[in-house]
Homo-oligomer: 196 residues x 2
Amino acid sequence: MYKKAIPLYVALVHYPVLNRRGETIASAITNLDLHDLARAARTYEVPACFIVTPLKDQQVLANRLLSHWCEGIGKELHSDREEALKRLRVVDSIEVAKSEIQANCGRAPAVWATSARELSGALRHRQARQWLAEATETASPCLLLLGTGWGLAPSVLDEADAVLESIRGINGYNHLSVRCAAAILMDRIIGESDHR
Amino acid sequence: MYKKAIPLYVALVHYPVLNRRGETIASAITNLDLHDLARAARTYEVPACFIVTPLKDQQVLANRLLSHWCEGIGKELHSDREEALKRLRVVDSIEVAKSEIQANCGRAPAVWATSARELSGALRHRQARQWLAEATETASPCLLLLGTGWGLAPSVLDEADAVLESIRGINGYNHLSVRCAAAILMDRIIGESDHR
């Protein structure tokens, strides 16, 4: 018996993000990000993950990779990868991701940004988990934004409905890969809860 | 003030592991596995991560990568990466990893294997967490084995002191990347516990 789907969507944002000098850039797509994110999304039944980039050549690259795994020889050899990667959607902007969710769910998503820095007023993971449990009943969607490069641009944090608390390491280190951070966040806010 | 170190060590095993046909092989090292594992290890203050491979050319490759980040230009540009990668140790076998831990801690580690499959009698993550909390007081080390390829060979599971429960996805999918699985496991068994 399938559980009721938790309406959490994820977006891996390549623009607007920061580079190491704090400038706003469009970052390059990383092949393994797409695989890891898709596999984690399938594990936790996230209905769709958006790969956000306005760069056309990067969109072509990402879509070629998706066709290989979802239609080509990759699907044949490795059907569990197709099951994961078919939930990725390459889009121009965060706005387009929001519109697609609205079209799919009948209402606009709440938008949660993430940051490796500890920000005041951040939404605790426990609160996010509770919010999503209630949202599952009312089918209110939520879009979780993950930044590549040196993180989401300040404009994205400013416009989000909330910023999630950071994943606090021991002794202040906050340089997880976005792949690992995404997996830990999904586990914390929508994973099984009986293992602590 | 630094917390008392939790004596959990991690090994990313490239031999003996299975390929897709269930044969025992030595898998190839993946650059990003090393970065992601090191960054997660630093985040959770795992004192050392062993990269296990008996293949000399693979050891040379891994060590070249480590020198770039820990001694070369990489360290200068990206010191947080050095802080992570310097805790990686390339070793020939799981036995060598155990000996190094014994030399370091004065006693042999308990060995925990992992599997993507649900095995009977598996150690629950909650139990592992409790065990490690007690082990921190007595400084009893533990070595967590993660398999690349299609997972650890049966001989490794047989010889381990325990096999950890798998990370159960929703609706039965169990194909996380080893990078993401490692991060989720560290978070579950030694991460902060106040976010549920």
